[in-house]
């Protein structure tokens, strides 16, 4: 496999510059424009890109790159290293309470994939020997409860619901009793989709958090999200102090720059990736693979190491 996209462009740019003789500082800077473009095209937030490119520039404007016979690859290497730093190294697990039940709360914008991901998590945990309970705390979306019940039936796992006329805070509280009488050691709360600027709905989440003190609050984010990802993540994090992120719809062709933005803005780890509509389509998130995806390159690291 050869370098594609960014790597190719960098190669082209440097090849052209080389024709003029030795690379100058401004040559490298203009080549870094390609890096900036690639990141913006991947939907990485504009401000994050600016900071990121400045960091790259500090390292790239130096002998390492300017004197190199393979400047394009040197730049890619630096970009990749900085990206790894940003995304975090190892993949992180969910917080499990030493004193069951472990309570996991799913939050996020409308249609991001909370309900489906609640089902996927339940399946994953059940496969690991846990006894999860799904809780229908979305009383607004038409047939939201039904949706979760169908998932529960497919997984042969219990679903706790109090109908649509109950308060989500009461539902969350009620689920704890239900869990203890039904031997469930893990509670997964499905909440309604909401806008991060909807005061009333955000207060509802704070209410649930205050009432049941979840061990893990997962922000569910659509991998196709654009520049707004930072506003969304920042607001949810500010109000709820989230524990991690679950990035959905990774099975498409979105570059997923939102991942980088969110990580940079909240500092919270991305823990899971949703890779399809089926309940089995959930994977632990691998930060190291995300860099290549955002830049639209194959196995960058492997190739750089050979170079």
């Amino acid at each position: 496999m050869i370098f594609s996209n960014l790597a190719e462009k960098l190669q082209d740019t440097f090849d052209k510059l080389r024709g003029k003789g030795k690379l100058s500082e401004s040559d490298v800077k203009s080549a870094l424009k390609e890096v900036k473009m690639a990141l913006l095209e991947a939907d990485v937030n504009y401000k994050v890109v600016k900071r990121f490119v400045n960091k790259i520039e500090e390292r790239a404007v130096g002998k390492e790159v300017m004197d190199s016979l393979t400047p394009a690859q040197q730049v890619i290497k630096i970009v990749n290293e900085e990206m790894q730093n940003l995304m975090g190294g190892s993949q992180e697990e969910i917080n499990i309470s030493p004193d069951p039940p472990t309570i996991i709360m799913m939050v996020g914008l409308q249609g991001s994939g909370k309900t489906t991901s609640a089902g996927k998590l339940a399946r994953m945990l059940s496969n690991k020997g846990k006894n999860p309970l799904l809780v229908a705390a979305d009383v607004y979306r038409p047939a939201a409860i039904r949706q979760l019940q169908v998932l529960g039936e497919r997984l042969d796992l219990p679903v706790f619901s109090m109908g649509e006329d109950s308060d989500p805070v009461d539902i969350a509280k009620g689920s704890i009793n239900f869990a203890s009488t039904h031997n469930c050691d893990t509670i997964i709360l499905d909440t309604a989709g909401r806008l991060h600027i909807d005061q009333e709905m955000m207060e509802e989440l704070e209410g649930i958090k205050g009432a049941v003190d979840p061990d893990e609050i997962l922000l569910v984010v659509d991998a196709m999200t654009g520049q707004d990802a930072v506003n969304v993540a920042q607001n949810f994090d500010k109000r709820l102090d989230i524990d991690g992120i679950l990035l959905t719809k990774m099975d498409g062709d979105a570059r997923g720059g939102a991942a980088l933005s969110i990580k940079e803005i909240t500092g919270k780890p991305i823990k899971f990736a949703g890779t399809g509509e089926k309940l089995a389509d959930l994977e632990p998130f691998h930060p190291d693979r995300m860099a290549s995806r955002i830049l639209g390159m194959g196995d960058v690291l492997g190739l750089i190491e050979k170079a």
């Binding site: 914008l109 409308q110 047939a143």
Partner: protein
């Protein structure tokens, strides 16, 4: 609330973020300099207008400056608005009800807002005295049929549905037959959310369209395909529009979730690159949160200063 009030209300977020910043860029300085273009680039990209379209816009402005000998930033702003308007101009209206039976097939990626938009469109035309019918063509997602049925009950509109897991094309066939038999004016067909990159699911969608087209022909019916795009989406919306258009010939776009802080700038890129008209905007989760996309009003609302 009046149409304009609703539109303005829905667009307020967009405006506060985007418009004031844009006009500040032009009115807040005496010279047209590099900084102006850099700030413009920042605002456009943060509004998800996209890298390609942003740079095309800026290039166009630079040409205008030369050709028209523009010196004042404020004068340049008029050109900027005009360029945007030209990009968004839409000759067609929303929907035509020329035929005995009009069919709208609604397509889009997962969670974009298809089913909710269908409810909104159904509500609007029912209020206008049309006989409306819905078809539950999402036979795949848990609770999808019930979701549409709940909307049908709320709106007092018939819903044609089969069992979960049944063939979507068969549902569409049934629905068209039934619409013909019952003298329906408008039939809206829901489809399952699918990522545009999923070949087999896109094939299935083509099949549904073929069945509708075939049945429509014998009934003097008109068929329109409406693509639903989530305003929170970044650059991926272009790929979505491209591939859905290739598969089923999209006639128009509904842009949802404009009530959030996402700016929906992808609309400009999609219109500019693919020439698909934007017809409707969604500004909330309720049945009445639907507006026609009117480029004049849209841009006016975007650029009007204060209130």
């Amino acid at each position: 609330m009046s149409f304009l009030e609703r539109l303005k209300d829905g667009l307020k977020k967009t405006k506060e973020g985007f418009v004031n910043k844009v006009s500040n860029i032009f009115t807040g300085r005496t010279n047209i300099d590099d900084e102006l273009f850099e700030e413009l680039e920042e605002v456009l990209i943060q509004a998800d207008v996209g890298v390609k379209t942003t740079f095309a816009l800026i290039e166009k402005l630079k040409e205008d400056i030369k050709e028209e000998d523009i010196k004042e930033p404020e004068e340049l702003m008029k050109y900027f608005q005009a360029e945007l308007k030209a990009m968004l101009q839409n000759e067609e209206g929303t929907f035509n009800f020329d035929k005995d039976l009009n069919i709208i097939m609604v397509v889009g990626v997962n969670g974009a807002g298809k089913t909710t938009t269908i409810a909104k469109v159904a509500g609007r035309y029912k209020d206008q005295g049309k006989k409306v019918m819905l078809a539950a063509g999402d036979t795949f997602r848990a609770g999808a049929i019930e979701q549409l049925q709940i909307w049908g009950d709320r709106l007092g509109v018939n819903v044609i549905a089969q069992k979960e897991g049944s063939d979507a094309a068969a549902v569409a066939y049934d629905a068209v037959q039934s619409a013909k038999a019952r003298d329906v004016d408008l039939l809206i067909v829901d489809t399952a959310g699918r990522l545009h990159t999923q070949k087999n699911l896109m094939e299935e969608l083509k099949k549904v369209k073929r069945v509708i087209d075939r049945e429509a022909e014998s009934a003097n019916a008109q068929v329109e395909v409406l693509l639903v795009l989530d305003a929170t989406t970044g650059q991926n919306a272009i790929s979505q529009a491209k591939l859905f258009n290739e598969a089923v010939d999209v006639d128009g776009i509904a842009l949802t979730k404009l009530d959030g802080t996402a700016k929906g700038g992808i609309v400009i890129a999609v219109k500019n690159e693919l020439q698909i008209p934007i017809k409707l905007i969604g500004v909330g989760e309720a049945a009445e949160d639907l507006q026609n996309f009117d480029p004049e009003e849209f841009i006016e609302a975007l650029f009007s200063n204060g209130e």
